[in-house]
């Protein structure tokens, strides 16, 4: 079984009929990088949250399974599930400013998890944090450990969150649009950093993004989502050579590409939208729930 296996996962807001995720299945092998691609509202972040056990209270699992390293997460008692997830998985969040507590210094924000969840002693946790800050190319890590988030640039804060995600040597990291708020030159540095760390540590990565350009640079496989449904699941090379689903093709044609100004940034045709919506309705029609 792959390191992460999501099977037939359906979510909904408690008390509402339409599903947020529609029987989603995907897998990420050990050390693999898979992209979750889709437009806002497609449910890509929700998949990440379901895997990490941090779904909003108003959302319930209707059906499906999440297997992490051979263990059926959704069948476990909540405390045991938290321990497994805390030890084996981590998140790189989207917005580095809101993800860090503005009133606390950086150091304890990195070491908290190691000390309180994994039971490390403080000295060991601190030396680990220093080593990681160095690995994410932060100069003067000792000073940064004592700094508050507002004293650091956006790129620095994102590096800190990356260091923090790798702190407990997780086997899986969910990266939720980690570079969306950054400009292209900083984005490139951060993506190469994540990719390099992922390769060195052999971590599996589930990379949530809406940018197919980014996908082609850091991922090996991708799942394309529309309205909580996986419409295409393919290796990256095959996908960019010939996307199979009409919606995937339209998404690729809408993606900016300065080397092809006439062939890119093409609005998604209404016929394609109608067809994919009909497909979602058909899936809902035959669904037993």
């Amino acid at each position: 079984m792959p390191f992460l296996q999501v099977s037939n996962l359906s979510l909904r807001i408690i008390g509402e009929t339409p599903r947020l995720l529609r029987s989603v299945s995907l897998s990420v092998g050990a050390g693999e990088v898979r992209a979750l691609v889709g437009e806002s509202g497609a449910g890509k972040s929700m998949i990440g949250k379901a895997i990490l056990g941090i779904l909003p209270r108003a959302v319930e699992v209707v059906e499906g399974e999440v297997w992490l390293d051979g263990q059926n997460l959704l069948a476990m008692p909540p405390m045991a599930r938290r321990r497994i997830i805390g030890a084996k998985a981590a998140l790189i969040p989207q917005d580095p400013l809101t993800a860090l507590n503005p009133s606390r210094r950086i150091g304890p924000q990195i070491t908290d998890r190691l000390v309180h969840i994994l039971g490390w002693d403080r000295a060991r946790a601190e030396s680990r944090a220093l080593a990681l800050l160095e690995e994410v190319q932060i100069t003067d890590p000792a000073r940064v450990m004592r700094a508050y988030p507002h004293e650091l640039s956006g790129g620095m804060r994102q590096r800190i969150l990356i260091a923090s995600a790798f702190a407990a040597e997780p086997k899986l990291i969910v990266a939720d649009e980690p570079t969306t708020a950054l400009d292209v030159t900083v984005q490139k540095q951060i993506l190469r950093l994540i990719k390099g760390m992922q390769e060195r540590h052999g971590t599996a990565l589930l990379f949530v993004t809406h940018d197919l350009g980014v996908v082609s640079k850091v991922c090996q496989s991708l799942s394309v989502l529309y309205a909580g449904m996986v419409v295409e699941d393919a290796p990256v090379r095959d996908f960019f050579a010939a996307p199979r689903h009409a919606y995937s093709r339209a998404l690729l044609a809408a993606t900016p590409k300065y080397t092809d100004p006439e062939g890119s940034l093409t609005p998604v045709p209404q016929t394609v939208m109608d067809a994919v919506r009909a497909e979602v309705a058909a899936a809902d029609g035959v669904w037993h729930g």
């Binding site: 437009e39 993606t255 940034l265």
Partner: protein, 266 residues
């Protein structure tokens, strides 16, 4: 063709509130350092740069939301560099702005009709309801949307309202500040296609601020590249992409991840 904007030796500095001592004045930081360029009528110019390059500050100076600290800005022959609010008011109709984040630039308590209509009323337009309707037609939204509130719209629709509000004033110049960077690729493509059509149809002069050179290439005939408050390159779009001169422009181009696994991106 005559120049709509002539900018000469423009300088702008702002107070650095992060370094302000408890008592006394904050030190000033130079944001724009000696910029000179002109925009002919009908020009569609891209202003590109990384975060902190001064591109939004430049835009805000052009529509005089900020007052320059040196140099001059002439709009259609009038020196607007240090005009006060009262003197600017009649000119404001003629240069409009579309903001980056429609959620924070559209008042959530006002309907779309009021959002588009009240600036028209302030500037003494007649037949406001008809004008609001025509503005909505222009941006491809049903007229019934005039009764809706911003939270009832999608991101792309909200940005269309921002565009409708700007063009309803029948301006000569529009400044668009990162108006598609918060949108999904499919809405991004739609909003760009819309803007492209409107500029042509209405004969607008447009300054389009973006950090994304791919978007600029599609829309703009000319590109001004800003880096640390200075213009490092100002050329026709085709020339810039064929043969970027400034090192910073080359870095910017090389950093763009193209949707192509074979692109060399090291």
């Amino acid at each position: 063709m005559a120049d709509l904007y002539t900018v000469q030796n423009l300088r702008l500095s702002l107070a650095d509130m992060t370094a302000k001592p408890l008592f006394g004045a904050a030190p000033r930081i130079e944001i724009l350092r000696d910029l000179s360029f002109s925009l002919p009528k009908g020009e569609v110019a891209g202003i590109v740069g990384g975060s902190g390059s001064g591109k939004s500050t430049l835009g805000r100076a052009l529509v005089r939301l900020l007052e320059p600290s040196g140099g001059s800005i002439r709009f259609d022959g009038t020196d607007i560099t240090h005009l006060d609010d009262a003197a600017l008011r009649p000119l404001r109709r003629r240069f409009q702005m579309i903001f980056q984040d429609p959620m924070s630039s559209l008042n959530p308590r006002h309907t779309v009709g009021r959002l588009i209509g009240s600036p028209l009323a302030l500037h003494g337009f007649e037949g406001i309801q008809g004008r609001v309707g025509r503005a909505l037609d222009h941006v491809g939204l049903p007229r019934g949307f005039a009764a809706r509130y911003p939270h009832e719209l999608s991101g792309g629709q909200r940005q269309r309202v921002g565009i409708a509000r700007a063009i309803a004033m029948e301006p000569e110049f529009i400044l668009a500040d990162e108006i598609v960077s918060g949108l999904d690729v499919s809405s991004q493509a739609q909003v760009l296609a819309l803007l492209e059509g409107l500029v042509r149809e209405l004969g607008l002069t447009l300054a389009f601020i973006s950090h994304d050179l791919s978007v600029i290439r599609r829309l703009c005939r000319r590109v001004i590249v800003l880096h640390r408050g200075e213009i490092v390159e100002d050329r026709a779009t085709a020339e810039l992409f064929a043969n970027p001169q400034a090192e910073y422009t080359r870095d910017l181009l090389a950093a763009i991840p193209l949707p192509d696994p074979d692109q060399v991106w090291a």
